[in-house]
């Protein structure tokens, strides 16, 4: 079977399972809603103050929400020992990894798209002109988080304290992506010229490439160990 077919089957399986249970997306949305509500009531802000802080709040919500989704990515494979079936399948393990990354990316990006209007409403943001660039920032940062997150989800899935270990291991590595995403989001929301924050977008692209290539290469060893 071709490499692309394997990716398609993994994505199909994860999406159809999620569509039938809605377990991952609903828990991600619920968590993110609480974060938005708590922050919106905690800060009595004017629009300028909101713009300075909102980028960080958005990425705290997106990252921790993403960790919930990423964590479920491989715990679902423990059911009926399905992970053994993945281990024994004679397909390139990199294709399984990319299938999982794609599914995780789709879950995270969907939740981000659903949540962002709530940030706009609760924090009174003006985003009409910046929406295209914001989507690009969300897209690039979500690739980075899902690529490294999927690897650590596979790494921690067999550990008893995996719910604790996943964020403990993942967050230090995700910090560069989060910082670049926060800075690019802040620049976009402030209406800064592209040149002022373009280096953060370039950094996101570099991190995406490094994280995806390294994780792709390491995944086979992790799944087999």
């Amino acid at each position: 079977m071709s490499f692309l077919n394997t990716i398609q089957w993994i994505v199909w399986k994860d999406l159809i399972s999620e569509w039938r249970t809605r377990e991952t997306i609903s828990s991600m949305l619920f968590f993110a809603l609480i974060v938005i509500l708590v922050f919106s009531f905690s800060f009595a802000m004017d629009q300028d103050a909101a713009r300075q802080l909102i980028a960080g709040i958005i990425w705290v919500a997106f990252t921790f929400t993403g960790i919930i989704g990423i964590g479920k990515s491989f715990t679902s494979e423990l059911q009926n020992d399905c992970i053994e079936s993945l281990q024994m399948s004679p397909v390139p393990k990199g294709a399984i990894y990319l299938g999982k990354v794609t599914a995780n990316f789709l879950f995270m990006f969907t939740v981000e798209i659903l949540l962002f209007p709530l940030f706009v409403i609760f924090f009174n943001l003006e985003v009409v002109e910046a929406i295209g660039m914001l989507l690009l920032v969300f897209f690039l940062a979500t690739i980075g988080l899902s690529s490294v997150g999927t690897l650590f989800s596979a790494l921690t899935v067999q550990i008893r304290a995996r719910e604790v270990m996943l964020p403990v291991l993942l967050l230090p590595l995700a910090v560069p992506v989060m910082i670049a995403a926060v800075e690019a989001t802040r620049g976009t929301l402030n209406g800064d010229p592209y040149a002022f924050y373009s280096q953060w977008l370039h950094l996101l692209v570099i991190f995406d490439i490094i994280f995806t290539v390294v994780s792709f290469w390491l995944f086979e060893f992790i799944l087999d160990s």
Partner: protein, 224 residues
């Protein structure tokens, strides 16, 4: 021709040795039954052959392929029916078959899927989610997967668990079909009566050592 050749295979967890220096050969066209008490290491040995665990020492080949160095080649010719069903609860029976066979590089058409489900007696439940399946139905679905996959090596861990008489007949038919294709079957079982009908070779794994059984010893063991 030998289907499996195992040489000085040992497995240990830390200082605890499960088995040591196990050496034997299984010929193609045969069904090898592995007996032994709980905790003897039967499932561990099967998992090593399935490439899910690495041996601590020793080596093995499956149809000429090195089980440690050529994992992907070995994986493409074996199917392991384990304690876990390897089925996804939210997918239907048909979808589970399509998915697991796709990961083996196979794409059975609708009629082949239907035939395999009918053959295992669950043809009426093809669109039912696995969440609603009983343990016996799940086992039958894994048999349907094996019928479609047609592996050269079939590894069965306690294959008769959860199966009714009809399921046992289907399992034995699958084993016979694999043997007829010059494949090989390795199974662990406590059910000596059921193994008596089908096993052609056998061994007892006990206290870390493997004792091979001659055909006479095998018959005496399964009938004792």
């Amino acid at each position: 021709m030998s289907a499996i050749q195992i040489t000085n295979l040992s497995k240990a967890y830390g200082f605890y040795r499960i088995f040591e220096e196990v050496t034997f050969t299984i010929s193609s066209g045969s069904c090898f039954a592995l007996f032994g008490p709980n905790g003897a290491g039967k499932t561990t040995l099967l998992r090593i052959l399935a490439t899910l665990q690495a041996p601590s020492e020793g080596q093995f080949t499956i149809f000429g392929q090195d089980g440690v160095a050529e994992k992907d080649a070995v994986r493409s010719i074996l199917l392991f029916i384990a304690h876990g069903s390897h089925l996804y609860d939210e997918l239907s029976a048909t979808e589970n078959l399509q998915f697991s066979l796709a990961l083996r590089g196979q794409k059975p058409d609708v009629s082949q899927l239907k035939r395999a489900l009918d053959q295992t007696g669950i043809g009426a439940y093809g669109n039912l989610k696995i969440r609603q399946f009983s343990a016996g139905m799940k086992k039958r679905l894994t048999l349907a997967k094996a019928i479609l996959a047609q592996p050269k090596l079939l590894l069965l861990d306690e294959p008769y668990n959860a199966l009714d008489d009809g399921g046992v007949i289907i399992t034995n038919q699958l084993i016979q079909d694999t043997m007829k294709r010059e494949g090989a079957v390795v199974m662990t079982t406590h059910d000596r009566n059921k193994a008596a009908h089908i096993a052609t070779e056998g061994a007892i794994l006990q206290a870390g050592h493997l004792q091979l059984l001659s055909p006479e010893q095998l018959q005496a063991h399964v009938l004792s």
